[in-house]
Symmetry: C2
């Protein structure tokens, strides 16, 4: 099984995932653009999000972390405050996050990976990098530097007031918007790889 | 000029920087361990830190951002509150950050970069990656997933109370400590690359 076979198989799985509404709708045309390039295909993607998580202190965070709320659109104050009603009483940290758009792109060889990485960096996606190298493919991660990681409370209690939470949401939404603008600048530059 | 010449030149500059106290003291033995490996040398490093920044809203953040306080040791409440006395009145975001330890390692070729990257990932430094590829060298970035990026106010005003700031500092110091433990696990595994 070579790169082309892996690409075909991955694109069939992507098609199924799209039909089941498992892929962010806004990112689908971007995935199609990348997958139309000969030496590349996408393996995972997220258009960026704001959310609030409970992360357990004394259990495996990978297995037991829980989203109180998670929004790919620009969430409203009401959505945020509704999510905070679901806080549990366990031994948790409560973390407010903004994750920038992210894409993983399989590249055929080192040269194509290098070209994709450099285009991303030059387009302003400065946290982009190569995540893994194998004989079959090189994975390039496309990522901005924008992020929010804010502990807002623990053990079922919030340590900040509602005005601060509104500020935090406004700040995070504005950074998410900016991250998406830079992301789209890179998408528009992708034609240079044809 | 090949890899070996670049390595020699970089190590001379490192020696000078150490003599001028420009390098975190705790990281020096780690740099020496990496630089003793044939196919690698370090190009930049930080042992991790907690700090508070003013980031201008309407000027270039790269040129005009300012640290109110920055600590490579585990800062005390007093140090934090003293730093916050220096807030200015400009149009700024005030951001509290914890940056994990970070290292940039020049590797001789793709194969040595891949080995270094995989050792870092397997040691738990899951945000490690390859940042650039050139004929002369491949730069591997060594990094944990731990981070704090919290806007705490804007335009000269803090929107959280002192108890929250104490919680935020304790949280950040504990994550920095954990990040350093994982970092040292990788340092101890470096002998496998000999």
């Amino acid at each position: 099984m070579g790169f082309e076979d892996d690409k075909k198989r991955t694109l069939i799985n992507l098609e199924l995932a799209i039909r089941e509404n498992l892929v962010d709708k806004d990112i689908i045309p971007i995935l199609e653009k990348i997958n139309s390039l000969e030496n590349y295909y996408t393996t995972s993607s997220c258009i960026g999000r704001v959310g609030i998580m409970e992360i357990p202190k004394d259990k495996n965070p990978k297995l037991y972390s829980k989203w109180l709320g998670k929004w790919h659109h620009y969430a409203t104050y009401e959505e945020m405050f509704n999510a905070l009603k679901n806080i549990s009483n366990g031994k948790n940290y409560i973390i407010f996050v903004m994750n920038s758009p992210i894409l993983h792109i399989a590249s055929k060889d080192i040269d194509s990976a290098k070209k994709m990485l450099e285009l991303a960096i030059h387009s302003g996606l400065k946290s982009s990098s190569i995540k893994s190298i194998s004989k079959k493919r090189i994975i390039v991660e496309i990522l901005t530097t924008y992020k929010v990681d804010t502990p807002i409370g623990e053990d079922g209690k919030i340590f900040v007031d509602n005005n601060y939470l509104k500020f935090l949401l406004d700040y995070s939404n504005s950074k998410l918007k900016r991250a998406r603008e830079i992301f789209m600048r890179w998408v528009n530059n992708l034609d240079k790889l044809k």
